[in-house]
């Protein structure tokens, strides 16, 4: 590994923060400067993440000691196959969202707030990168809070005054969750005297029976469950996703929720290890049951919604159940499916929310019944929605099918036939709520003739949607590519190394 690559992990975080400041200062001088800087910085992060993933593909792990202090004194940054994969996924999504937001942001953000919006946008992405690369538990909490505070601000930043209330509720629940997480970290520190994830994994087995460690596990579990909106702790999510500005919904539904899910899997498997959650403190069965309930309940609630964004939000709760399902089954195939689903869900939900945002941008329609006959006015957007929707249902050969295939495979291998059936039922329910929209779009009558044709959104919004819709299909066909990284990542989480 050469010297430049070994210095990349801190640059991934420091340079964009400097970029955000530059955008703030230059944006004060001339408003149009903020957006290109944000785009360039997220592009830089994406390029760095690609280089990092390329260099850890062969199973190598990059350890970076901040300030040259090795753990337990210093903070360590770790890049391995799992988090480099997550980094690439979220930064790709963040980049596409930033492209989409060039014109999409005007929908909900008043021009005076445009500079601050993009600065905070960039800080949110940077906080997420920090969460992904850190190897220190307390540092994870700090980056979690950096990204969360940015997310609260962005959710509340819209023109729509209801977004303030949604943002406030998100803030209260998110802060309680962060409090629980930091308490859990404190208990782990009491038990072992270190905060480094690698050292904790080595030192914890000696303390497995202690009540301190149980308390730590439960506090962190509940905290992360609130942050990822794992049913029934999802109450902040529907409002936050529905009322937030469209670009923010895309970003938090794809990047934020995925990185938090990553952090949860990381803490459970890399800090507490598989042995702890299956033998010393068997919670996997319970997680499996709750995940099954989440899949069904989220989908049923999604069917009941009339607001398109709210429907997609409930669908997110259901899909988050799939990722937690992987945690409940906890074998190679299921975990590979779960990690694949992190990517799959980010790609397809990003596409669906982008289309929802484009529809609002062009027509102002938010309710599903208003979309009648929309495919004749916005053919490309509706086609992208149908493709991403097919992936959401799990129709082969889309990426959604592949991730669910591995999840079902894992459940069958583990002998959990009932759970596998729940996965299939979840897919059927997804078919119901996606079909409801597609039916209205394609087969409904056109009500308002006065709107005329040619409502297709501007090119800068169209390009990300087409890329995401195409990748729903292409990633499914060439599924070996992500699996090359996902397979080793799942093996590493299960303690294969």
């Amino acid at each position: 590994m050469n010297a430049v690559i070994s210095q990349l992990p801190p640059l991934l975080i420091v340079v964009p923060i400097l970029g955000a400041l530059l955008a703030l200062l230059l944006g004060k001088w001339k408003r149009s400067f903020a957006y290109p800087i944000t785009l360039a910085m997220i592009g830089f992060q994406f390029a760095v993440s690609l280089v990092l993933m390329e260099s850890v593909m062969d199973g190598e792990v990059i350890h970076y000691y901040l300030g040259g202090w090795p753990p337990p004194l210093g903070i360590e940054l770790v890049i391995d196959s799992f988090n480099s994969f997550v980094l690439v996924v979220i930064l790709a999504l963040a980049l596409l969202t930033a492209v989409w937001a060039r014109e999409g942001a005007d929908l909900d953000i008043v021009p005076e707030k445009r500079v601050s919006f993009f600065v905070v946008f960039q800080l949110l992405v940077t906080g997420l990168c920090g969460m992904a690369v850190t190897g220190d538990l307390f540092n994870l909490y700090v980056f979690l809070e950096i990204s969360s505070i940015a997310a609260y601000t962005l959710v509340a930043a819209g023109r729509n005054p209801r977004s303030l209330i949604a943002g406030f509720n998100y803030l209260i629940l998110g802060s309680i969750a962060a409090g629980f997480i930091v308490l859990g970290i404190g208990y782990l520190y009491i038990a072992t005297g270190t905060l480094n994830m690698g050292e904790l994994a080595v030192m914890l087995p000696a303390h497995y029976g202690q009540a301190t460690v149980y308390a730590a596990f439960l506090f962190m579990m509940i905290g992360f469950s609130i942050k990822v909106a794992f049913f029934p702790l999802h109450l902040w999510l529907p409002d936050a996703y529905t009322e937030a500005p469209a670009a923010v919904t895309i970003l938090i539904a794809t990047a934020t929720s995925k990185v938090t899910a990553y952090a949860m899997l990381r803490v459970i498997f890399s800090v507490f290890t598989l042995q702890y959650v299956t033998e010393s403190f068997p919670v996997t069965e319970l997680v499996l049951i709750i995940a099954a309930v989440a899949i069904i309940a989220g989908a049923v609630l999604a069917i009941a919604q009339d607001n398109l964004k709210r429907m997609l939000a409930y669908s997110s709760i259901s899909q988050m159940g799939y990722i937690m399902f992987a945690l409940g089954v906890a074998n190679q195939a299921a975990l590979a499916g779960g990690i694949l689903h992190i990517m799959a869900h980010a790609v397809m939900k990003g596409c669906l929310f982008m289309v929802a945002g484009m529809i609002i941008y062009r027509t102002g329609f938010t309710a599903i019944r208003q979309l009648s006959g929309l495919s004749r006015r916005m053919p490309v957007a509706c086609a992208a929605f149908a493709l991403a929707g097919a992936s959401m249902i799990g129709i082969p050969p889309t990426i959604g099918f592949m991730s669910k295939y591995y999840l079902v495979l894992g459940a069958v291998v583990a002998g959990e036939y009932l759970a596998a059936a729940v996965l299939l039922a979840g897919s059927l329910l997804a078919a119901v709520y996606i079909w409801k929209v597609i039916e209205v779009m394609y087969f409904g009558d056109v009500h308002d003739e006065d709107l005329g044709g040619g409502l297709e959104a501007p090119v800068s919004m169209m390009v990300p949607v087409i890329i995401l819709a195409a990748s729903c299909l292409l990633l499914g066909i060439f599924v070996e590519l992500p699996l090359e990284v996902v397979g080793p990542a799942a093996a590493m989480l299960l303690g294969g190394d």
């Binding site: 505070i149 609260y152 209330i165 803030l171 209260i172 802060s175 308490l183 009491i190």
Partner: protein, 124 residues
């Protein structure tokens, strides 16, 4: 009974922490006024800070200040203090954002209570 007393006598700081935390959570859940919710959040966070500070204590320990050569002393563990300094900054940022949102809600709806807010939402 004596065991219990000994337990309370040695661990009272943790019990106080939990009580403080529950006061904060109560305020977060039960109070209708949004500003009071923010205060509850602060109490909740302060309880966690106190928890960290109390477990860093060492019997007879002094402040971890750099001493000249040849002088030695027992230090309390400085790492939780540093961590909590960071957590205080985080708490400060959350409070600032929360208050900014409350100010925004007030400017929009002229209410600071949840009841009033629900009424306003219904009227719309």
């Amino acid at each position: 009974m004596e065991n219990l007393l000994a337990f309370i006598a040695t661990r009272y700081i943790y019990i106080m922490t939990i009580i403080l935390m529950m006061i904060g959570l109560y305020a977060l859940i039960a109070k209708k006024n949004l500003v009071k919710k923010v205060i509850g959040l602060n109490i909740f966070q302060t309880a966690i800070f106190l928890f960290y500070i109390s477990f860093s204590d060492v019997d007879g320990g002094t402040a971890p200040i750099f001493l000249p050569d040849g002088v030695s002393a027992t230090y309390v563990n400085p790492i939780p203090h540093v961590l909590i300094l960071t957590a205080i900054v985080v708490g400060l940022a959350i409070t600032a954002v929360a208050l900014a949102i409350v100010v925004g809600i007030y400017e929009e709806y002229q209410v600071t209570g949840e009841d009033g807010l629900q009424e306003v939402m219904k009227r719309q």
